[in-house]
């Protein structure tokens, strides 16, 4: 094993063996799921069931106002505003006395104000009831029939199909693609920062510990810098790898809970459901729907690009972080002022990405996804929309090639600054001095 291999091994093992690494790697996805679960749980838990007494002298609510999971409506003529609480109702709904199908002047009387969820639900229920009444009055048809007609109309779906994929039955799912783009681009954004700063801190540690000079009497400074960058990058990849395995594990467990015949049906129908699958529970349907929608994405391509742009972007920025780490001393504030010019393009990239994701074929999206400063984030956001549909091969290829050239350049530049920086103690160098070191 070469010397650089030894350095990579040390950098990698010293981090992976840490308890904090193991904890954060396993706990982060769990925490993520946990937070979502908690939010859902609190929201659901907060919806308390309401029983509402309805005073409806004209009787036009009675026909189709149906109780549901949030509100139970009881038509009770013996209740008024003075005794509804004693009879166990949380509120009393009073319909207007005059005017048939009048939409205003419905009153809801209660001791405490109802939650906005209950309030909205009651209002929606009344609106639906009135709508049905008005339609049935003017067309003379059964209000129950109206409900069925509406349900059918609701199932309308617009499928976007790209021209060159027409006939392959591949449906383009803009919403899904953009959310995958968002998530992957943000992941790259966050990891560039986390691992970039990790490299910078590692270099600073070696410098302030005064071990740098001991090591560079055995290996070249360039080997030390590259070994550190690759070692920490491998730590990042390990973390992703574990996360992907965890995700696949969770999704396999969820899939195994769906009965095979339902799954088969879902796949045939490409996500459109009708009353025939009513016997399966709603949750199973949701999971199956999610699964069939997710299968429209070219996962090997997305994951492959993610790994490439993570590695490329990481190498591009990590060496710059290493150069800054070598230039400063213990003082973290010095480091912050020097890292600003490096973090700025990362932040610009995320702003560009947010603009590009709504129109992934725009001029801005095309050009910014070619520039190595931004491409790891912007191109990653565009890839889920489809290659070569949205992103032509030449763009992806050029972007990748430029990124490779870019990180070769930043590594070369940083190595020159690093070589001088790690043996320089004293005051923080200015940018002018850094440029001079790079020229030496």
């Amino acid at each position: 094993m070469g010397k650089i291999g030894l350095i990579i091994k040390r950098e990698y093992l010293s981090r992976v063996r840490k308890k904090t690494f193991i904890l954060t790697t396993i706990l982060t996805p769990l925490l993520f799921v946990g937070v979502i679960g908690l939010v859902v749980f609190i929201t659901v838990k907060n919806v308390t069931h309401q029983t509402v007494a309805v005073v409806d002298p004209n009787g036009y609510l009675k026909q189709s106002l149906e109780s549901n999971s949030v509100v139970t409506y009881t038509f009770d003529s013996n209740v008024d505003t003075s005794n509804f609480a004693d009879k166990g109702y949380t509120a009393i709904l009073i319909a207007p006395q005059t005017g048939i199908n009048k939409t205003s002047n419905f009153q809801l009387v209660s001791d405490k104000s109802l939650s906005s969820i209950a309030n909205d639900r009651i209002q929606d229920d009344i609106a639906t009831t009135l709508e049905n009444n008005i339609i049935s009055d003017s067309l003379k048809i059964d209000p129950k029939l109206i409900e069925a007609i509406k349900k059918r109309a609701d199932e309308t779906k617009l499928v976007q199909i790209k021209k060159d994929e027409y006939g392959t039955l591949q449906q383009s799912n803009f919403k899904l693609a953009s959310s995958i783009g968002y998530v992957t681009a943000f992941l790259i954004y966050i990891t560039l920062f986390i691992y970039g700063v990790m490299v910078m801190r590692g270099v600073m540690e070696e410098k302030t510990n005064r071990i740098a000079e001991v090591i560079v009497s055995s290996v070249k400074p360039f080997q030390l810098m590259l070994g550190k960058i690759i070692g920490i990058g491998a730590v990042g990849l390990t973390q992703f790898f574990i996360w992907i395995i965890l995700l696949f594990g969770i999704s396999t467990i969820l899939t195994s809970m769906i009965p095979p015949d339902v799954l088969h049906q879902m796949q045939q129908q490409q996500g459109s459901f009708n009353a025939s699958s009513q016997q399966t529970s709603e949750a199973v349907q949701t999971i199956a729907a999610a699964k069939s929608t997710l299968s429209t994405i070219n996962w090997p391509l997305v994951i492959g690009c993610f790994v490439f742009f993570f590695i490329g972007g990481y190498l591009f920025y990590a060496s710059l972080f290493a150069a800054v780490g070598s230039a400063v001393n213990e003082d973290i504030q010095d480091a912050q002022s020097l890292t600003f010019p490096i973090t700025l393009p990362i932040i610009i990239a995320i702003i560009l990405m947010i603009n590009c994701i709504n129109d992934p074929t725009s001029q801005l999206a095309t050009w910014s996804s070619l520039v190595p400063f931004f491409s790891p984030i912007v191109m990653m956001a565009r890839v889920p929309f489809g290659v070569p549909g949205t992103v032509p091969y030449w763009q992806l290829g050029t972007s990748m090639a430029l990124l490779v050239l870019g990180f070769l350049f930043t590594t070369w530049l940083s190595a020159k600054i690093y070589r001088t920086g790690i043996l320089m103690y004293g005051k923080k160098p200015t940018w002018k001095e850094l440029i001079k070191w790079a020229r030496m």
Binding site: I7, I211, V214, S217, V219
Partner: protein, 311 residues
């Protein structure tokens, strides 16, 4: 044959002529002292010898051939003045890592580490971390990691700083042992009493230039002032003479005399004997390296001034 030869080395920084045309050569198996006040250019010189810096001008010959950092680095052990270790790393692993970086295969490295740890009473340290060690202990570890790969040339920059007298002696004995086994040692310091004890050959640098070069013995001879300490049973009255003058008269029956040019020690002795003095001792006083050092460096500003270098 010289193991290391520095030829007209120059290294200029933006505001300093750190090393300005220095040449010297070091014999195989010798203990060589590189002396100089703070900021004289010692560290820069050593960094050029160890391949960390490239000289602006001049060259370094290692074993008779131009120094090739890539290959020759494994024959050199360098303990810089600004030294350190990974604080969170276990001591055994750290020693192994540093040895492997020098190119030792794992098995050999393990065997040598165990040998050294046994010799210096460090066996119980293996699974401790560096942050658990005292300054002196980590100094000892640093020394072991420097010499572990059996380098031909060992460069020690202030190796005794932070060590108590007992551990200093342990390290000193190891240095002698290594020299005896054929290693060449460059010893950089500004602590003169250690140099006098250890070194065969010294070079004194100041302000980037070499000002002295020679064996300790020769340099002392070169700077002697013909002073002699003479002990008497009873201090005699010294009359005027052309042989010597009294430099100092001490209470305890001793005189320190400076011989005039042309006078010999025998003539001085016979002068006293003729006067019936009862001599109990007669020694030459050689200047200590410390005195020579101070005399040579004196008169130059204690701190180097920044200057604009045009070269």
């Amino acid at each position: 044959m010289a193991i290391l030869e520095a030829q007209n080395l120059k290294k200029y920084f933006a505001t300093q002529k750190a090393v300005d045309d220095i040449s010297f050569s070091i014999e195989r198996g010798s203990i060589f002292g590189l002396l100089g006040p703070n900021g004289a250019g010692k560290t820069t010189l050593l960094r050029m010898i160890t391949g960390i810096f490239y000289p602006d001008e001049g060259q370094v010959l290692f074993d008779g051939k131009p120094f090739d950092p890539l290959n020759d680095i494994q024959y050199i052990g360098y303990m810089p003045e600004e030294r350190g270790l990974y604080k969170k790393m276990k001591i055994g692993e750290q020693a192994l890592y540093l040895a492997q970086l020098k190119g030792l295969p794992k098995n050999d490295a393990m065997r040598l580490i165990k040998e050294w740890f046994a010799r210096l009473d460090m066996q119980t340290w293996w699974n401790k971390k560096v942050e658990d060690l005292s300054k002196g202990m980590s100094q000892k570890l640093q020394f072991v990691t420097t010499v572990l790969h059996q380098p031909k040339l060992i460069i020690l920059d202030e190796p005794f700083s932070g060590l108590d007298p007992v551990n200093s002696n342990v390290i000193k004995d190891e240095i002698f042992r290594l020299a005896k086994e054929g290693s060449t040692i460059i010893f950089s310091t500004h602590r003169m009493e250690q140099v006098e004890e250890i070194c065969d050959h010294i070079v004194l640098v100041n302000r980037g230039k070499k000002i002295l070069d020679g064996t300790v013995r020769n340099i002392k001879q070169q700077f002697k002032e013909n002073l002699f300490r003479i002990g008497f049973a009873e201090t005699p009255v010294v009359g005027n003479n052309n042989l010597f003058e009294v430099a100092k008269k001490t209470d305890d029956q001793t005189l320190i005399v400076r011989l005039n040019k042309g006078a010999t020690t025998n003539s001085v002795l016979s002068h006293f004997l003729q006067n019936g003095a009862n001599i109990t001792s007669f020694n030459e006083i050689l200047p200590s390296l410390n005195e020579i050092f101070i005399r040579q460096v004196e008169g130059t500003p204690a701190a180097r001034q920044f200057q604009t270098v045009t070269a």
